[in-house]
Symmetry: C2
Subunit: 234 residues, 2 copies
């Protein structure tokens, strides 16, 4: 039990004599706040709503967190911190082929999405309706720019098809990753590993200029029903 | 000028004598409402906000549309109607290979997304926070189920890789399509055709079990220009 725990019934700090009653630490308040923001929208959620959700008085919440914006900023920071560190980590392996770094970036993004599902969802739904959201969107753009640069590097390197603009590839690729926030919680047996495998499998078997090695290759090639744009050689 | 036009300055109906002043018809009110819902969130938007946005009095808006829910329902109907009719149209071509129908479904979905960008965005952001949203989510699930069935058919048919669950393929494929709502308005030169080409190109070169052609195979296939599925007459 930490000093920051509050009694949900009274909103007061819980003394050691009353430790049998449930309390909320700051981390729990943040979790519940992010979930509520995601459920009913940040702009439509008041501190009163959050207090009701937690069974606390409104003044008890303000004793615990300075403002709704503070909770939003904490949630956005959680997602942005994790995503930024991935980009930094991958940039540190610039001796590796860009396609390999891009695959690593997708895998890490999926792992972060799964580990920080609620915070990443909050980030992806931020529209820039406040200074806090605008600052977050600016940091998000910097991450997106770094990922798009990785795609451009992979195209320059000759690993990826050239008939689709790298910027568009990047948007679709990370759009596919990000869209998972909308269904992952209902995704049953799909875990981060299976999701990353599926995304890189779908994306790279399509993006890579290397032919798939199969026994049917000769037979298929003789029929050759694909267009030059479909095969990606321009 | 129609009978439903309102004077934005006074909120009154515009007489023919004052036809030089700009007015709003119901369609314009709906467009502006959907944009405002997308910008600041439906739950956080009041009819007062919408009246302010249009420079109308609040009572003038109520004279024009019965309720905020009515505008939401109209926006959701626009997106769902278009998407439902695509699924119906494609179901009517069940004599064609499932992969071909799936490609057609993606192209149609992209066209609808571009033609009804604001309404589709509104639909994708609906969380089920009201009966209107819940009804829309139920209709959306039926469409998603039909698209997932199309993927399952294509897997059964032997056209698509079998190492990723059809359900997951469907979620990622249409997640990639849907994620375009988040950036398409800033997408510069990307139009519906280029977007559909990029999505089917990335997705199917990965999903298809047919090997990608190498440069040599391309040379052999230099005469063939389109696949039957690319010409896709559905």
């Amino acid at each position: 039990m930490t000093a920051s725990e509050l009694d949900p019934a009274t909103g007061g700090e819980i003394s050691t004599a009353r430790r049998g009653r449930p309390g909320y630490d700051q981390e729990t308040v943040l979790r519940r706040a992010i979930d509520l923001f995601n459920r009913q929208g940040y702009d439509a959620t008041s501190m009163g709503d959050l207090a009701r959700e937690l069974g606390l008085s409104k003044s008890a919440i303000y004793h615990h967190v300075p403002s709704k914006e503070h909770l939003l900023a904490s949630g956005l920071d959680e997602a942005l911190g994790a995503l930024s560190s991935t980009v930094t980590t991958i940039a540190a392996t610039s001796d590796k082929p860009a396609e390999e770094r891009l695959r690593a970036a997708i895998r890490s993004s999926v792992e972060i999405l799964v580990a920080h599902l609620a915070a990443v969802t909050l980030l992806l739904r931020a529209r820039g309706n406040s200074e806090v959201e605008q600052a977050a969107l600016e940091r998000r753009r910097a991450i997106d720019d770094a990922l798009a640069e990785l795609v451009r590097d992979a195209v320059r390197e000759g690993s990826l098809r050239t008939d689709i603009e790298p910027e568009l590839i990047s948007r679709l690729l990370f759009g596919m990753v990000n869209s998972s926030t909308e269904w992952f919680h209902t995704g049953g047996s799909v875990d981060a590993g299976a999701l990353a495998h599926a995304i890189t499998g779908i994306a790279f078997d399509g993006l890579s200029q290397r032919p798939l090695a199969t026994d049917q290759q000769d037979a298929q090639a003789s029929k050759s029903t694909t267009t030059s744009s479909e095969t990606g050689n321009v």
